[in-house]
């Protein structure tokens, strides 16, 4: 029972209140009530989400774009798999490059075995695809034939009718030489009638043509599945070819061995050279070969940016910006809360700069940061950040700094305003206690003012992090800095239907991460609140 209440308390603090009826039901507490709650807070949201997915899958294919149909949930799910496979393959290649000795040979053997399996699999998949295509071709023809025939017949008929009409009118015109003006007027009316008839025929033809085109748009799931299997296998083959290369001749071990042999060779050539040979040239060759050996031994596989890596970089960027914002906003907010004069001095800046869009800040920041770093590669800050263990792998460049500063500039206002509010709302009784105890400035600040303001400071930080995360993707797209934004921009420029679906994947990933960040901040906010208030969702 103790345990149950611990769980319930944990759920309450983390703000995942929808889980508490499940726990209560599991312990048999008022089952009818808990079932009602579960129905309302778990089943209803799930139904709503399913309804959304259904609506999406119905509506999406109706709109055709340059990049193909708007992807349905199934296509997006498929694209998620594609993104993940790409990431897996690249990680495996990266690891393969660094393998040595027995492990490398073992892995090589396994990869070769898989390659052999793949031949059979691919052949079967291609057969299935051919069969599926043949059967679907039949179905397609059967489906399209009636409308095609109707359209073709109508077109022929309309051609014939027009020819007949034209001939009749020409014959009539030939007899008009001695006709009266009235008769000529009648001929004009005949001409008009003929035009109207042609127009009506054209309209009905257009209708038939549209029906024909519509019949052609049908897709056959079995062909689609078979084609997907073939594509996935082809992707794997492509990977395996490269993978085998990385494990075999192109592995670091092989390259190092090769470079070592060459270095040894040059060395012995230099040591055993006769008096008539160019010792200067041979000596410098030795040095060059040795240098090459060192670089080879330290070399890494040039792993491309996969989405998971982009996500980590985006998170690093948003947290850098968020930390910067907190370091600026909290002290200024505290000063604002403590001193009405300081508050008066700060208000115009807050009011003026708070509404400015990140899209305005970013180019300005980029130019300013660029001004500090005419040679970014060798700038001390970039070099320093590049040496930080984890951070160093994520290409910290001026664009990263600009994005982080933009995030900070856009997100610091919420923290600043909330901190000022929190500090300003210190309980008068607590201040009286401080006066009676004659607490000094710092004691008052750290023992009374900041603890009082903490829940509001964290409320501000929560808003800041949310704003920062939203701003970041826009900043990355604009600055072409690596990260989720870069991924979206690449997919946009790429323009294939597959990359269109991958942009949808990004929507869900960004949304999910934003939600997780928010939840984390809620937990912090609750941990620093002394009278834990009701759920803030």
């Amino acid at each position: 029972m103790e345990f149950k209440y611990k769980i319930l308390k944990g759920i309450d603090i983390s703000g995942l209140n929808f889980l508490s009826p499940v726990v209560r039901l599991a312990t048999g507490e008022e089952p009818a009530k808990q079932l009602r709650e579960i129905g309302r807070f778990i089943v209803v949201p799930i139904i709503a989400f399913l309804a959304f997915l259904w609506l999406w899958s119905v509506v999406a294919p109706k709109h055709k774009t340059k990049a193909g149909e708007v992807p349905t949930p199934a296509v997006v799910w498929d694209a998620t798999g594609g993104i993940w496979r790409f990431h897996e393959y690249e990680t495996q290649k990266d690891q393969a490059y660094q393998l040595t000795g027995g492990t490398r040979l073992d892995t090589l053997g396994k990869a070769k075995a898989r390659m052999a399996e793949l031949d059979a699999l691919e052949a079967r998949a291609k057969e299935q695809l051919a069969a599926a295509e043949a059967s679907s071709k039949e179905k397609f023809d059967a489906r399209v034939a009636p409308s095609k025939k109707a359209y073709d017949d109508a077109r022929e008929a309309s051609k014939d009718a027009r020819r007949t009409r034209t001939e009749a009118l020409k014959a009539e015109a030939a007899q008009l030489a001695g006709a009266t003006p009235e008769q000529r007027e009648t001929f004009l009316n005949h001409l008009r009638d003929a035009d109207a008839a042609a127009e009506a025929e054209k309209k009905s033809l257009d209708g038939l043509k549209a029906a024909y085109a519509d019949a052609q748009t049908v897709t056959f799931p079995e062909t689609k599945d078979a084609r997907r299997t073939v594509t996935v296998l082809a992707e794997e083959r492509q990977f395996l070819v490269k993978y085998l290369d990385m494990l075999g001749d192109n592995s670091r071990e092989a390259k190092v061995a090769d470079a070592k042999a060459k270095a040894e060779e040059a060395r012995s050539a230099f040591l055993n050279a006769g008096p008539d040979e160019d010792l200067y040239k041979l000596g410098s060759t030795v040095l060059k070969r040795q240098e090459l050996l060192a670089t080879t031994a330290a070399s890494q596989y040039a792993k491309p940016w996969t989405l998971p890596k982009q996500i980590v970089r985006s998170l690093l960027c948003v947290f850098s910006g968020f930390l910067l914002a907190s370091f600026i906003a909290i002290p200024i907010g505290i000063l604002c809360g403590l001193s009405p004069t300081f508050m008066a001095a700060t208000t115009p800046f807050v009011a003026l700069f708070k509404p400015v869009s990140p899209l305005v800040w970013l180019p300005i920041i980029m130019i300013i940061v660029g001004g500090f770093m005419p040679d970014p590669e060798n700038h001390w800050l970039i070099v320093l950040l590049g040496k930080v263990p984890f951070l160093g792998n994520y290409k910290i460049d001026p664009m990263f700094l600009s994005s982080a500063i933009t995030v900070a500039l856009c997100s610091l206002w919420a923290t600043l305003v909330n901190t000022a509010l929190g500090v300003g709302s210190v309980d008068k009784d607590h201040m009286n206690v401080a006066r009676v105890l004659r607490l000094g400035f710092w004691s008052r600040l750290f023992k009374i003012v900041i603890p009082t303001a903490l829940p509001l400071i964290f409320a501000g930080l929560r808003i800041s992090l949310g704003v920062g995360w939203m701003v970041l993707v826009a900043a990355e797209i604009l600055s072409t800095s690596e990260g989720i934004g870069k991924f979206v921009n690449d997919m946009y420029t790429n323009g294939s239907s597959q990359s269109f679906a991958q942009m949808f994947v990004v929507v869900f990933i960004v949304g999910f991460i934003g939600m997780a960040l928010d939840r984390i901040m809620v937990v912090f906010q609750r941990l620093v609140s002394f009278e834990t208030a009701g759920s803030t969702l």
Binding site: V433, L437, L439, E531
Partner: protein
Amino acid sequence: MRQVEIFNLAKFYPNPYGEPFKAVVDFNLNIEQGEFVGLIGHSGCGKSTVLTMLAGLNEISDGGVIVGNREIEGAAPDRAVVFQSPCLMPWMSAFGNVMLGVKNVYPHATKAERKQIAEYALSSVGLADSMDKYPREMSGGMQQRVGIARAIALKPKLLLLDEPFGRLDSLTRMELQDVMLEILDREKITTVLVSHDVDEVVFLCDRVVMMTNGPAATIGEILSIDFPRPRERTAMMEDPLYFRCLDHLVSFLTERAHLRTEPRIHDSNSLLSFTGRKIETPEDLAHAAA
């Protein structure tokens, strides 16, 4: 030995449309070392104003206060206050709340000594086992005990109690009154208690200062409660003098609080009793006294 001298104490509030509003005027009172003085009056009569002026939390408009040979200026820990609500910092344990002031008052004490002072204060209010509890884990009575411990840990020259038991239920109130009496009998701290509970002031105080109604409130009567110390509740309640004291206070509050006369001093020999007839003029009062 005289510990506190209050002379011509007054509080004016500025009034933009006329004469300043006079809340309290001509408040004169001397308090002996170790004496327990109660301050009683109708609500809004200014008794809390007097107390906050003594604490230094409210600016003094006229007159002054001398505590231990020194005129007071602003708030300081030598005049500790126990507020009506416990006013504990919710982010600190009971011990932390008591330690908050100890550091400033004993700047030269070692860490261990300070800890000992806070622990002693907490155990003397009966919280030896609850020092690490946070305010949210304590009942209102326990929280107020911490408030009292925080005040007495400062070893104040003057302890100011601003209706400290007003928000407690009657059983808890009685417990805390006993705790308070016990501490004050032992520590001999000069104390001023603001209250509107006549039982409480009679039980606790050596002298009760009755304030006239505001505006321009001042001292109406002063009654000495001639019970020996240490006091014991049941014995006191059985004594007819206890009820005569209550009667005097109630009759003041209902019949004489609105009169403007020179402050009168009463003791057990000159107690007035409730007449049931409104006393409207000083002559009526002389008549009743006779």
